[in-house]
């Protein structure tokens, strides 16, 4: 009897402890705000932030992962989003024009996914190219001031990719109206297009798969080991080179997937990746650089802040307010609200 009671108090203490941590308070406050705004102005804000939040989480997870494993602060992450929109567009448009002539229910349901998967594959290949062509040579030359140097390198990569896109494909908007020609769904009195629902579900599925991969598979555990202690990981026989290549391609595949999935919201053009990049950065700073699990919550949080500002203050301000918020976080808690499991971030 007494044992049970003590167990109960321990659980209670744990719950109180996790709720009064910075992360717990943030999530609670966010939930309260979401509920209040839903009561006052309908579920629009909540649903809007839930739908895009999933994809922002995917972007942020990639950014976080690359920082955790390779200590690379990737400024070119948004450009993989751009590549994703590009691939999605060029794969999906022929399919949809073929479908216009030969209606086929199966292909019209699966077609968009072909585009998204193609984007993932090309994103992954580009990630490998980036690692082999840019980071590897620098690692061979020197590891001094690695974080700053790689950051500036990715700045160069970003410039090249944006202008390479302009060079090859021009500056016109390449977008689609919708992936599926289906009437919008009606959820809690709000009509949402099918794309948004599918995108949200897709983000959740990929997120779950990613979580399983990182926790349960050998490779995923190797990646986590490298992010926690590089030397230790090498000592137990993990091949650093392969993990680094894999991480980079995984991260860029996730970003490209986000790009292809959100093609109906973000038509492809050279600088389309800027906004997703900002958002991914907001998320990562909010939850802590290198914190993969927190990125999921952070994605929804940032999406909510954005749709709240967009709804109550004005569309143009949805950059300014999150920026100010993130600056505040950086000032008060540079390791992020959820803390970071990556060691020595501030020493570097």
């Amino acid at each position: 009897m007494g044992q049970l009671a003590s167990q109960r108090t321990r659980v209670w203490h744990q719950m109180v402890g996790s709720l009064t941590s910075a992360a717990g308070i943030t999530v609670l406050v966010a939930l309260v705000i979401a509920v209040i705004s839903t009561i006052y102005s309908g579920p629009f804000v909540l649903i809007n932030s839930v739908v895009t939040g999933g994809m922002w989480a995917l972007m942020a997870v990639g950014l976080s992962l690359v920082f955790g494993v390779m200590n690379v602060v990737n400024f070119a992450h948004g450009e993989f989003f751009m590549v994703g929109t590009l691939v999605g567009y060029f794969v999906f448009t022929p399919i949809s024009s073929y479908l216009a002539d030969h209606p086929q229910p199966l292909l019209s349901a699966v077609g968009p996914f072909i585009g998204i998967i193609a984007a993932m594959l090309i994103g992954a290949v580009l990630g490998v190219v980036l690692e082999k062509l840019v980071f590897h040579p620098l690692r061979v030359r020197t590891k001094e001031q690695w974080i700053m140097n790689t950051f500036l390198l990715t700045v160069g990569v970003s410039v090249i990719m944006i202008n390479g896109d302009q060079l090859l494909f021009g500056t016109n908007f390449k977008g689609i109206i919708n992936y599926w020609k289906a009437p919008p769904l009606d959820i809690f009195g709000v009509s949402i297009s099918v794309e948004r629902v599918v995108v949200f579900v897709l983000a959740m599925v990929v997120m779950a798969g990613f979580w399983y991969f990182m926790r349960q598979t050998r490779i995923g555990r190797a990646i986590r080991a490298v992010s926690q202690d590089e030397t230790g990981a090498q000592m137990v026989g993990i091949e650093l080179d392969r993990i680094q290549v894999l991480t980079m391609s995984l991260s860029s595949a996730l970003a490209a997937m986000a790009g292809a999935s959100l093609l109906f919201m973000f038509p492809s053009y050279p600088t389309v990746g800027l906004k997703p990049l900002y958002i991914a950065w907001y998320v990562v700073i909010l939850v802590g650089l290198g914190n993969v699990a927190g990125a999921l919550v952070g994605g929804f949080l940032v999406a909510m802040i954005q749709s709240l500002t967009g709804f109550y203050i004005g569309q143009g301000w949805d950059d300014v307010i999150p920026t100010a918020f993130v600056m505040l976080i950086l000032l008060i808690k540079p390791s992020g609200l959820f803390g970071s499991e990556v060691k020595g971030v501030h020493e570097q």
Binding site: T142, I147, M148, E347
Partner: protein, 354 residues
């Protein structure tokens, strides 16, 4: 300290020289300004350039002005990046603050652009001061991110406060001169560039510069030897942003139209690329590199119009190549050439003595 070791032979040669010939006197004069003889020649060339035939053309003068403006910015950028080792990723926003202040003062209060250019320094320096304080606790990459966010916030404000700045519609600002000629503008920006160069060169050659370098290399070690990081980092940021604001004034009153575009990150990247290609921690590297580089870029832009964006690809490519393979940049090339020339001279002197 290794810095003293490296410096001592040069200092010795300066003081061992007897000021006999006019060349030696000139050399000593140039040393007090922080430039050597080659530097003096380059500066003279800078002012004589519009008089040399092809560069007097109006279109080439525009390129020259663009190059000098970017070069001056790269000099200011290097003052922070190359010394305290913090990348001010919101640099363009501070330029924009100076530009908008000066332009708004001229438009709304009729203040002369010449005075406005100097008044634009104040808000930029104040914001730089604040950013310096904000980034104080943060190391390397976090400081860069913070300054980037400050820049993004300023950009967002400029875009949204349409009542004041007219936002993306653009703000017309009066120009310095009534003439259509670009020549007077070139001399204005050339002088501004020189002032930027000499002031920053003077600061970085003094003890303050040593403190900057120490902080850039290792904050704890610098603190242990009695350097106050708060003062020096905030001071550095304030000075850099003050110069950015000042150069912004020129931007406003030369181009005559301002849009929030100038505060975008891509502009910072442009300056950053030139500063790095020029050579980190040299102050002059970016300023000099800007001229051939901007000419190349502008040449590509005007002659390869069917390939838009190619010139910017070159930017990125050069930045990457310099970062990976030759971090010294142009200044590093110059230093190694000088070193090998000195070795050659010493060897010849030894041979003739023997």
């Amino acid at each position: 300290m290794s810095n003293n070791d490296k410096k001592s032979p040069e200092v010795d040669t300066v003081y061992k020289l007897e000021p006999t010939g006019p060349m030696d006197r000139l050399r000593r004069l140039s040393e007090t300004f922080g430039v050597n003889l080659h530097g003096l020649i380059v500066i003279a060339l800078l002012f004589a350039l519009p008089l040399i035939p092809p560069f007097g053309r109006e279109d080439l003068l525009r390129w020259l002005i663009g190059a000098a403006l970017i070069g001056a910015q790269a000099i200011a950028f290097d003052f922070t990046t190359g010394y305290i080792n913090v990348v001010n990723f919101g640099f363009a926003a501070f330029l924009g603050v100076g530009a908008y202040t000066s332009a708004l003062l001229a438009v709304n209060f009729g203040i002369s652009p010449w005075i406005g250019t100097f008044l634009g320094v104040l808000p930029a320096a104040l914001l730089g001061f604040i950013t310096g304080i904000l980034t104080l606790r943060l190391r390397g990459i976090f400081a860069a991110l913070m300054s980037w966010f400050v820049g993004l916030a300023l950009l967002g404000l400029t875009r949204n406060l349409t009542g004041l700045t007219r936002g993306p519609m653009g703000l017309n600002s009066p120009t310095y001169f009534e003439t259509a000629s670009n020549l007077p503008y070139y001399y204005v920006i050339a002088i501004m560039m020189m002032v930027t160069f000499f002031v920053l060169r003077y600061i970085t050659r003094s003890n303050i510069g040593l403190a900057f370098r120490a902080l850039g290399q290792n904050i704890e070690a610098a603190q242990a030897s009695g350097i106050n990081p708060t003062f020096y980092r905030v001071f550095n940021f304030t000075i850099q942003c003050a110069f950015a604001g000042w150069l912004g004034g020129f931007y406003a009153h030369y181009y005559g139209i301002l849009t929030p575009q100038i505060m975008q990150t891509s502009h910072t990247v442009e300056v950053l690329a030139i500063a790095y290609i020029g050579g980190r921690g040299s102050i002059w590297g970016g300023g000099l590199t800007a001229f051939p580089f901007i000419f190349l870029i502008e040449y590509m832009r005007s002659n390869l119009t069917n390939l838009p964006g190619l010139h910017l690809v070159l930017y990125g490519l050069l930045l990457i190549l310099v970062m990976i393979f030759y971090p010294g940049g142009v200044a590093g090339v110059y230093a190694s050439i000088r070193a090998s020339a000195r070795r050659f001279r010493q060897r010849r002197a030894a041979q003739s003595a023997a």
